[in-house]
Assembly symmetry: D3
Homo-oligomer: 334 residues x 6
Amino acid sequence: MSETELRASPIAPTVDYSADGVQHGFLRLPYSRDDSAWGSVMIPITVIKNGEGPTALLTGGNHGDEYEGPIALFDLARTLKAEEISGRVIIVPAMNYPAFVAATRTSPIDKGNLNRSFPGRPDGTVTQKIADYFQRELLPLADVVLDFHSGGKTLDFLPFCAAHIVPDKVLEARAFSLVQAFSAPYSMKMLEIDAVGMYDTAAEEMGKVFVTTELGGGGTATARSAGIAKRGVRNMLREAGIIEGEPEISETRWLDMPDGDCFAFAEGDGLIEPMVDLGETVLKGQVVARIYPLGRTGVAPSDVRARMDGMLCARHFPGLVKAGDCVAVFAVSV
Amino acid sequence: MSETELRASPIAPTVDYSADGVQHGFLRLPYSRDDSAWGSVMIPITVIKNGEGPTALLTGGNHGDEYEGPIALFDLARTLKAEEISGRVIIVPAMNYPAFVAATRTSPIDKGNLNRSFPGRPDGTVTQKIADYFQRELLPLADVVLDFHSGGKTLDFLPFCAAHIVPDKVLEARAFSLVQAFSAPYSMKMLEIDAVGMYDTAAEEMGKVFVTTELGGGGTATARSAGIAKRGVRNMLREAGIIEGEPEISETRWLDMPDGDCFAFAEGDGLIEPMVDLGETVLKGQVVARIYPLGRTGVAPSDVRARMDGMLCARHFPGLVKAGDCVAVFAVSV
Amino acid sequence: MSETELRASPIAPTVDYSADGVQHGFLRLPYSRDDSAWGSVMIPITVIKNGEGPTALLTGGNHGDEYEGPIALFDLARTLKAEEISGRVIIVPAMNYPAFVAATRTSPIDKGNLNRSFPGRPDGTVTQKIADYFQRELLPLADVVLDFHSGGKTLDFLPFCAAHIVPDKVLEARAFSLVQAFSAPYSMKMLEIDAVGMYDTAAEEMGKVFVTTELGGGGTATARSAGIAKRGVRNMLREAGIIEGEPEISETRWLDMPDGDCFAFAEGDGLIEPMVDLGETVLKGQVVARIYPLGRTGVAPSDVRARMDGMLCARHFPGLVKAGDCVAVFAVSV
Amino acid sequence: MSETELRASPIAPTVDYSADGVQHGFLRLPYSRDDSAWGSVMIPITVIKNGEGPTALLTGGNHGDEYEGPIALFDLARTLKAEEISGRVIIVPAMNYPAFVAATRTSPIDKGNLNRSFPGRPDGTVTQKIADYFQRELLPLADVVLDFHSGGKTLDFLPFCAAHIVPDKVLEARAFSLVQAFSAPYSMKMLEIDAVGMYDTAAEEMGKVFVTTELGGGGTATARSAGIAKRGVRNMLREAGIIEGEPEISETRWLDMPDGDCFAFAEGDGLIEPMVDLGETVLKGQVVARIYPLGRTGVAPSDVRARMDGMLCARHFPGLVKAGDCVAVFAVSV
Amino acid sequence: MSETELRASPIAPTVDYSADGVQHGFLRLPYSRDDSAWGSVMIPITVIKNGEGPTALLTGGNHGDEYEGPIALFDLARTLKAEEISGRVIIVPAMNYPAFVAATRTSPIDKGNLNRSFPGRPDGTVTQKIADYFQRELLPLADVVLDFHSGGKTLDFLPFCAAHIVPDKVLEARAFSLVQAFSAPYSMKMLEIDAVGMYDTAAEEMGKVFVTTELGGGGTATARSAGIAKRGVRNMLREAGIIEGEPEISETRWLDMPDGDCFAFAEGDGLIEPMVDLGETVLKGQVVARIYPLGRTGVAPSDVRARMDGMLCARHFPGLVKAGDCVAVFAVSV
Amino acid sequence: MSETELRASPIAPTVDYSADGVQHGFLRLPYSRDDSAWGSVMIPITVIKNGEGPTALLTGGNHGDEYEGPIALFDLARTLKAEEISGRVIIVPAMNYPAFVAATRTSPIDKGNLNRSFPGRPDGTVTQKIADYFQRELLPLADVVLDFHSGGKTLDFLPFCAAHIVPDKVLEARAFSLVQAFSAPYSMKMLEIDAVGMYDTAAEEMGKVFVTTELGGGGTATARSAGIAKRGVRNMLREAGIIEGEPEISETRWLDMPDGDCFAFAEGDGLIEPMVDLGETVLKGQVVARIYPLGRTGVAPSDVRARMDGMLCARHFPGLVKAGDCVAVFAVSV
């Protein structure tokens, strides 16, 4: 079915995107189920509008177990005043709301990974319906899009803001200027190898300036990581001309993930002993983690080695590891 | 039934505690269940013995989601040679083995919290049978007991080694000398208010020198925290005279948790924004965390405040919090 | 794939739709699964035929937790004699049989809501295969279709029989004459806003006279509500000319659900205190329910208000409510 | 262990039972678990005190799926003013709070049926700890105890208030005067055959005046049933001299359940067709329900018959029934 | 609490043990739970009595996944006529009825292994209540007890009938004469090492003649194994003088399990390749199974070796094995 | 989307199909999930190549609870030397690896039945991605394909090797010559009625010589059945010219399943008593099994009868049966 034939989204917003002022409401998504025949998913949304100007679409909780974004956006939604801005700010602190409430990466309803569900379907699963609403209703309203991520319960990242290498170099330059303004401790240029189904791709293909982050992980946030997020989003809105004034810039270190050699994988299950911490550098061939089989003592652990020189920018978080898990990711300074 | 009437433990070790040399084996605990009528739980154990001398009993995985102890002990079990020691080292890297394999605090078999199950029962649940075996078979063999803990998946701690204030001051002094030798970044004097069912109490009541740790948390370990554990256990064995030589001492900071005011609890569910990080100091009444209700934007968060001046030494780890969760623990320097 | 290309349904009936007499059998749907590699779903079916005449297709258990229909149809299947009728009666008391056995609205196998699964797929999930069989095999045999519904475990309805406003006014008139004959305490004219995937729509688009009911709810039935169903179905067969004689008419009250304002939704989770009961009338703005947060006393409940004048014709049933649940539905007399 | 040797309850109240005024707080019960190592169960409690006078202990949610009590008590806790009373009112609207939040009869934590867990244990399961706290801390404070019940998700009752036949006839008379004052549509004299572990028994054995109710069921409440509860509890407090003024009496009908013949049980699984509704009378031997096997049509249902003459005062609620379920309960007028 | 103080069993039989004739009924065990507040477990029972004579108590389904016993006993209960016997036969084909319905070794309600739950408790779990009823009500009625076992889903046995070596040699001789009469292909003399909690022990300690079987396994039965059970039970009743006539004897081979060396255990998880089949003989040290780790090819399997010369009389059944599982059991001919 | 438009498979092999020698590696399938954001499924694979010659693709674990194939292929992968062969052998002992680890027929991830998932999808579920990789990457490399099956946990088969009647008679003849060489006790000619989605069909439609087996069942293997598999696969490689030498032929008995009458189904739930064992012959109308309802004694079982003369070649395995289960399959000798 071509897009023009798609039925309307079943999602009904309780806010008016064209009204000035601050509105707190919901995206109501009807969801009939065994424990509520006429139930709905209620995704919180805030719209702040003041006259003319660009629209920023700010999202957290694309994955439900990542917390810096939701913290910064619940805070921003409550504290940003209409008179502080020129244009419009649309805030959805918990995009995949069922996953956010369940504290899981994917939706407990349909196991949907929202960031692999674009462009979505109006007659699909709950996660696909959310993707479709962003695809057809919210992204078209936006000029600038910021989607917060962190490592979630199973990964941990150096804190960075990032944008993609894209064919449209004007778009790319505007995105990197927003990354610079965000002013996280690290900044990343990303070349996405497999971008199918991502929100990022959906936004970029529509010509939107798209910025994302990875700001820690482990399914927690700290005062420091939450502070980076809170300062970064206001900085970005300043750079976009929506909040007046200059971004509060601090030093950032630019990184690059050049190719597939930056990933190291586990080939067996076990107890992981990390040998390198985030931000430390390694040489190619260095042992970066050891994996002990769980069931007996006295057995040598298997070594996981770096396949390139670089800085550890992401790592497997849980104490146990399974065959096939990504154990470490390395980046190079640029 | 008095202790003398207790039936024998059903656990059969495959190692001989009185034999010299290095033995890797199992504590085999018969466990009949739907998916194995004649199955067993196999708890890995290593015994290293060389002539006469004191016995150290070293344990990790008392709670199954704490990793610095198992890492240090799987490593030690594999690398410590009989000729390096005088006396005996008994190593059980994963005491509550079913919990360790499941990566959970408590046993998936019976929900047993091993550290609240002492003295255990030979005819009880699997967790109670493990406690009973330590109570009646392993603790009596020991002179010195080190039980590794960390915060697990839901708490995060400053890294410290600790011992309890106990009535027997000779015992207490020996324990604190081992804590000093362990040489973690922090050291803690603990006055346990409710010690019913703890392994600690079982050991101390038998007159054993008992030392424990909290070395991080979140259900992960880092190269740094695993390093503290690996160095600490060898230091402690040196101080105990089992490994020759002096402990490699580095600076430690002594802390104390004076009373119940050191704990701050959540009164509602929500998204937690930490306002203070581990190791930072606060004043009484200061907001240490804010809790946002999940279901709508534009609502003020509730504040959690410190009830004493102090340093944040432990915190709630997951990004979401439930009413009744301990959010923060403060300690004072001594 | 166009319909002509569809593979045959995998469902094999053990009854012969063209044979005279009473046959009790099964729709056998092969369903390979972990606990039965060569298993099947066996959906009970009764076919009663006597010479020439119209065919009625009578169904219950479209949602598995609604009971008046299955009670009336198990009773009818056992007691209706071939010689009582002219034509044919096809009875499937539990359309979504896996849901019926599980006492759930949707199928425990695939979470399929049968009434949103039409036209179905012969190579789809179990629920889609059932929909496809009705779409391509049973509906084409029918002249008149009665599909019993009630509120299920999570809604409660005033007892009514209903038909839809449809473009074909001859069809509509025939449907409403059957509703009148059914003679429930209430009768409803329904204008379905979102009819995608419904059995109703599938039948009506095929030009079948389609009648449905809502006869109570809460996942139970009473002697009274079961009696309405048992009498109603025989009345309808009389009106359709399949059973001889006149319907036993009693008074019915005609209702209408005019637009979206008839629904009231919860915006938060909590304990619901209903302020109005089924059949009572309210004025626009009146508080119809109050919702107490569960976690603390002393907090004011939030009010749910009627958005129109009307009679309460359906309500949320369980004692607890979730944000997004439909709390109340109002209708107007016509 | 004798009661005097029992360790103190681990439950810490955040309210002061001896302070005048209105306090809303919690019973905090430490509960260490996989998803919160230092978590707690927080049971809401309200204490309202004004000078001298008797103490009423008012409870709902003893079973977690019964709603009239919690509605009346959340309402009362919020609206009753200290100056309205003489003495003290202690309100726990959801005794078995984990069950109440889960909307289940028993606790999801330990499957504990609180009303079969008395006197409880301070070192037992969560449910046993709650029972112990009522046994040793709250019941001793009370003169009058009202414990609200309804049928829960699986039973439905005529609305009645009740007290037990007890050996102490003075106590019994005072209880029945409170039942009369409660003024439910029906009132019941109950002779408990197996009262082991009940809260009722614990209270009565301490010499407390104990009153209970059954006010509907099915896991729901109506405006009518909630109204009975709200009016009844204030009436009872008036009769007890805690609230000034006379109870608002309306007519009640006294019933009695004479012996075991008042119960009728199912001997097979199936779909239940009720033949009698609550409040209707039957003769011994009359068919009160029929049970259809689920798996095939054309089979005769099995009959369930009354074993005495009487009025249907309680019934099985769900549409499906299992062998051994109580299908119907009959009472006689007195 | 001493036995004389025990409260009465809550189980109510619907049969009269003292009445002549054939009665089919239930042991009704009240079991309140979330899905049936006033529900019961209904354990089928048949009592066949004819005048004076000994009583045989015949049971199957002690473990719920063993089928030869239930098949033989459902068959016997339906076909044995009162006039065929002298005395009484009490038949409970599915002792642990909840486990039998769930097709699991232990009860799905409480994970109770009935054969480790004796003497049970009248106020314990469902499984403990069943044990208590047999202990205090049924065993005292019996002279001869036959309890059918097979290997269940996780073990497979050579088909044998067995009795224990017991101190009372008269009792032992009577038991072995019944074993001989049962006439299974194999017969076993068993010296139980750990008999705590077994039904066998409970019966023998009461001075009852106790006989048991192992008749196959894998959670299935064959025409052959069911035939052995059906013939064996009638043979045993003949030998006991309850059915007239001589047992139909066929050849049996007597076996003995001398000591703990007859068991071989797995030390790791994996895919098991059996190297020996039931009934085959091995020499000490012979490889009887090989275990392949699941996660990679090219790795040598670990060998499991026999620790004695003997015949394979039982084996691990499932294709995968876990560390600690009993892999093989060997017996010697006597 | 046409096949040429399909995106590349996300599966990355760690082996080089074109390299000579023996390689043990993995098919790495990225699988992001709640417990591993950047996790993978790691399917073990072995490639053995020596110069020119045909390629055999050997698979087990298409259904995860069938064991003869995995045993034979883990053994072959470890023991077959490159110098023994001419050509190439690709071995995947556990195609549906997640199902194999879970010991279930279908994948625990997506409930996918791999053998009904062809041709698969590169952007589908995990099971569909596996199917797609075999469809587009592995099958095109093969000349000869052997896919091992057994009955799994719920069926039991006479041990046979089989090939299909296919339109291309040259292909069919080559397949049957391989079946003959495999030399199982039985050999089967199969006419697949519904072959949609099968691996068999995918291979045959590509013109590959396809051979399969059924070698027992019940979720176990025996020394005998594993031996048949191990000998059979080497025999087949000899016949295909990949291993030098002649197959070790032993006698086989050819069977045929002529039409739908070879299947007998259960119409009700219950305890199954088999009346015939595998390999025994029956006459049409003979009772082959009896089904006892579980809930009461004294009721006649329902009979399942053969619908043709023949030999029992497959049977329902578990002791309990559900309505719709295939109870027995009969074949005729050819």
